[in-house]
Symmetry: D2
Subunit: 238 residues, 4 copies
């Protein structure tokens, strides 16, 4: 499968602390554990067309999205192209603060707001849908020693499937693994991954992202036809 990992890649330029955790950028950290089995490339905000040219998008089966401080800098034309590819069947995995990205918000139709706190809190992501393929190989929960807290209410449409619910040390919960279908595309939102924590080195988090890539792959499927329809043979004579 052809996977493109998109990263805003700004924190890595401006923060020593983030660079210490992800010296090659979050995109390369994610790409590295997907390379075994997939054809993986990366793309970042500051590349031409944000690295998401027509040619790249046409050759992407599943797109992974990480963004945070520069959502507004992503060109509307690119968002439109990515959206069209999702509706046409490309899988999309939106990570952490990508909840506020233009692409996620336009596919959801809601504000996508939530509650947050940076306080080095423990997070446990509990499996609430244990027969879902995205949980393959995961135990009852994934534990992250320190993460940013995201709390309910998370302003999204009702997910098609709820896979994980997070517990946070400070007293909040969050629907942290949610699937959605839009057009022919499958979308998975996965909460963890604040830039100052080594979350993408966690083997459980990696396993979920690997599973999600497999789950979100474009499917062989029925091909509907839209628009003006010819009369089927039984239509009554006029």
């Amino acid at each position: 499968m052809k996977v493109t990992v998109w990263n805003e890649n700004r924190h890595e330029q401006t923060s020593e602390e983030v660079r210490a955790v992800y010296p090659d950028g979050i995109h390369n950290a994610i790409a590295s554990f997907l390379k075994d089995g997939h054809d993986v490339r990366t793309a970042t905000l500051d590349e031409a067309e944000h690295g998401l040219t027509d040619e790249v998008l046409e050759n992407t089966d599943v797109l992974i999205w990480w963004g945070h401080v520069a959502h507004e800098e992503v060109a509307d034309e690119t968002v439109e192209k990515v959206k069209n590819r999702v509706l046409d069947g490309m899988g999309l995995i939106v990570l952490h603060s990508g909840h506020f990205s233009k692409i996620f918000k336009t596919l959801m139709g809601t504000g996508c707001d939530l509650k947050w706190r940076e306080a080095d809190e423990k997070e446990r992501l509990w499996v609430v849908n244990p027969s879902h393929p995205i949980t393959n190989g995961i135990g009852e929960y994934i534990e992250l020693e320190k993460e940013e807290m995201y709390g309910e209410h998370f302003d999204i449409p009702t997910p098609d499937e709820l896979v994980f619910v997070s517990w946070f040390e400070g007293g909040e919960v969050f629907r942290s693994g949610c699937t959605f279908k839009r057009g022919n595309g499958k979308i998975f939102y996965f909460r963890p991954g604040h830039e100052t924590y080594p979350t993408y080195y966690n083997s459980g988090v990696q396993q979920v992202i690997k599973n999600a890539v497999n789950w979100a792959a474009p499917a062989d499927r029925a091909r509907p036809v839209y628009g003006k329809a010819q009369p089927l043979e039984t239509i009554k004579p006029k």
Copy 2:
């Protein structure tokens, strides 16, 4: 309740055939059967701000939307305002060719395409969710002697609730009554109502729209808080 019926009101200006069916416009035909029990006003495309000023929107509990040939003429600013009101709790009932309106598409996140044919076909709208309040007073189905056909696949997200499925004489089916929540707003898409047929005079169709207005009314409800969260009392000392 305060109900605003919005109509593009273009066919009525240009087509003798449509004017014969709806001499006062589709908006007034719908408003007339809602007036008993609600505070109803109408608004149309060619009014200033399409008749949807801030003051009107602030004073609307449920907005009904009919549009067809001029979706592109609705200003993006108005669409944005309507969307924000829906997310804040205003009910929205989208009728027939409103499936392709900007407001419906932006709330759904999908293409909202479908299959259609104008061939004077009989339509039966079967109740598939008989305990839903939108079916109150409806028998097993509503029958319309002649309607435009809409056929699957209808490119929408999975509805939160499926209430009606239509049968058409020519051989197609359609999910013709669908509910969605977006933010705090309830949305009902209801298929019938081609401009050349007297559909909005049908008592079953009128009953469904009346029920839907009651169902979509803004609810008393919990009030979530978004954004940066204060530590709750149990947060661990740092």
Copy 3:
């Protein structure tokens, strides 16, 4: 509305500790805050037919169910009658350890198992569906100083609507407010209410149960007909 509160009423007979909290039984504690506005009666396991005669069931719009140690003593005939009433439109609110009752399990079709711990843990029930009428008047969450923990995975079918998710001090989460439709009946499962804690005196818990009674009331609705169908008029001649 006619509400029947059913309680196993065994802990109250055998435990001094429980009697200290609910001297008149859990059923009367619940009945007392519903009496303002509803016609409320109670029924308990040790009454004839468990207090659920045909006459009582016929005159019940919403049934509330609390059971724990004696699920197996509920007669299968009674369970069958209650199930038939639910399918016919009676609302059902299942509380706490009622997750393992015969009536809940037969309506769900699954094992309904979960994880539990009695350790005087704080519980926060977060609203995840703030426009749902069951959350009317609730803030962002309900906090209970001490409760029994219930943890995921909760082995139920995917709820039609998820309304509350609980956080527990010890590190678990739970889908603690879930709606289901079965036949024409609406079902709400609500987690809190261990017999040794004063949970049913909490104003938030009371508000949710009041809201749920209103939500679960039998609706005016469509009346489907089942079985052998007469040919509709368009059926082709043979």
Copy 4:
């Protein structure tokens, strides 16, 4: 994969007309097109333990179920065993009049009733979920020249996913392809297959059943633990 095709196999014994269509029984007709790629066996009502011994069930990944006139003759013990296997992860495909089988009804929790008519009507099964893997290789619809009509309302819980909706010549519609999860098991209800028509020789119907077998296969997955829970490390000291 190990597939068991269960058939009541009574019409084939008593009806010349059915025997003419399915000389080796419906079970063998279905088994024959699944044999390429799967390890397939058959089982029938009149075998010892209905052919569903512990050994057979333990060695079945996906069970296909066809029954009609003898639902009541299936032993409750067998139904209980099959249910437990489904909850443990075995896939289940319920065909046509199996909607009234004990196993389907106990997994659904509802009456599972519907409307029917035997009048040699044309059926079109329209795809309403074109990116679902069960539609792989199917065009926009499957057409069956003559079938028994099944009409709404179909008294089932809201399906997790709706895949097909049928159109019938006489004027009815039906949710004819529905998925459900119960415990760890995936269930697919698929409507067509009246015993007097050659439905299971239709290539589209065969393709759907093949797809459904693949879809319903037991998944690698998370393994929840139920019952009394040990304190996690953060539980507060008492």
